[in-house]
């Protein structure tokens, strides 16, 4: 369980990505966070493994405070997987080495055990045949799937996805979403996904948050937040996101006819 208690963070004047956020996410819940750019979605994720420090408040994971200065950060972080918009694979290591590194160095697995585990994960993301490739030899979608496998190698209880498909070519988005959907359906893992993939949210999310200006405006089931949000701000945003899609679809239809 992840608990935010009155979390406040300020970058500079007038830029408050987290404005007294109170939030509690149950174990195994799949949460999608959406909202306009600069709303604080990424910061909401990044403060969990303390990639950013917070100014006030407390974040508690499974009863342990991670904002405490005495918290064992490496331990906390090894229980949390994070997938980034820019993939952030290690460019000097092959796909399989990327996955094997942390289990060997942190969990103390032997090379053989780590290799076995990595191969199983590569199979899961459908990239066994790319095991020996360097990240530069992989497409964006493949890199992101390797990045997911790398996080899963530590068997984290929590997976954080920071706009995992935003940097991808449109045709590569689905292969990454498929991996995430199968993860979500498997259950047992807490997932927080910052994304505007409404389709993903509708399919597997237990809960959708809408953020604006560092505040969580909407919090509810996908249907409540995506289709009938209470706040005008959220309604505008949703209609924009959804409308763009509709327009595109119409355009494509006309084009194809």
């Amino acid at each position: 369980m992840i608990k935010f208690i009155n979390v406040y963070k300020k970058f500079k004047e007038e830029c408050i990505p987290l404005n007294n956020v109170d939030l509690s996410i149950a174990k195994g819940q799949v949460v999608v966070v959406c909202g306009p750019s600069g709303a604080g979605k990424s910061t909401l994720l990044r403060v969990i493994p303390r990639l950013e420090a917070i100014d006030r408040g407390e974040i508690i994971i499974d009863g342990l405070s991670v904002t405490n200065s005495r918290a064992n950060l490496a331990k906390v972080r090894s229980e949390i997987g994070m997938v980034f918009q820019q993939f952030n694979l290690f460019p000097h290591k092959t796909a399989i080495q990327n996955i094997m590194l942390a289990p060997m160095k942190v969990r103390g697995l032997t090379r053989k055990q780590a290799n076995k585990k990595a191969m199983a994960l590569l199979e899961r993301v459908g990239l066994v045949h790319k095991a020996g490739n360097y990240p530069s030899q992989l497409s964006g979608g493949e890199q992101q799937r390797i990045a997911i496998a790398r996080s899963l190698a530590m068997e984290p209880g929590i997976m954080l996805f920071d706009e995992p498909t935003s940097a991808l070519d449109p045709e590569l988005i689905q292969e990454v979403l498929d991996v995430m959907i199968s993860l979500a359906r498997e259950g047992g893992m807490t997932m927080i996904v910052v994304s505007h993939e409404i389709g993903f949210a509708k399919k597997v999310a237990d809960r959708v948050l809408f953020m604006d200006n560092g505040v969580i405006l909407e919090d509810g089931s996908p249907h409540e937040v995506l289709i009938s949000p209470k706040h005008q701000r959220a309604r505008d945003f949703m209609s924009n996101v959804l409308h763009v899609r509709d327009d595109l679809r119409e355009e494509n239809a006309t084009f194809l006819n």
Partner: protein, 238 residues
Amino acid sequence: MYFIEQFSNWKFYLVGAYPAGSMGGLLLNIVLAAIALSLSFFFAIILGCGRLSPKKYIRYPFGWFIDIVRSTPLLMIVFWFYFFLPYLLGEHVTVFGSAAFALVVYGASYQAEIVRAGILAVPRGQMEAALTVGLSKYQAMRYIIMPQAFKIMLPSFISFFVSLFKDTSIAYIIGVIELTQSGVIVSQRQPDRIYAAYLCVALGFWTVSYSISRFATSLEKRLGTIDLWRFSLVPGKR
């Protein structure tokens, strides 16, 4: 003609009185450079990382040290250790020892800045990714940041290596009998052959420096085949 004639002194230029007497000439420059390079490289990594420390009480002293050395002429540093080291460690410190010490201090400070720039050039996301898979900060530096940073640093390191090799000639000023000193000695013995003697000195430095650069170029090409994702050093060439 005088120049050709100078080659009869080749042994003196290359190794000094070695093996019968003390080592000198070009060999001494090479030994001095090798000592200075290997030691200063080691200290440069410590200095460079120290300067990047998030803790002020570590970062500031390292920064001061680097800046003070970098804003002092090498000649001053050589003089300074020439007078200071015997005072500190006793009279048995040789001129070679103090020259080597000065070059290590000088080299470490300059290379510390190369180290710092190299580390900063690695995208921030690499450290974040390394930390979120559970590596400690030290492990992240050791396995993720440094290997990438070294590739970025390599060209700067090599050009500094070449210039440090040439800078060993400054040891002449405190009486180390290296190549420059050899040239001076020869030219004093045969005052009419001054040009020829210094031409030989230049040839010696050039040969070694040029060989290092050539070797470096081939090394870079070879390492360049390991693709470093998006920060390839030559645009368009992956």
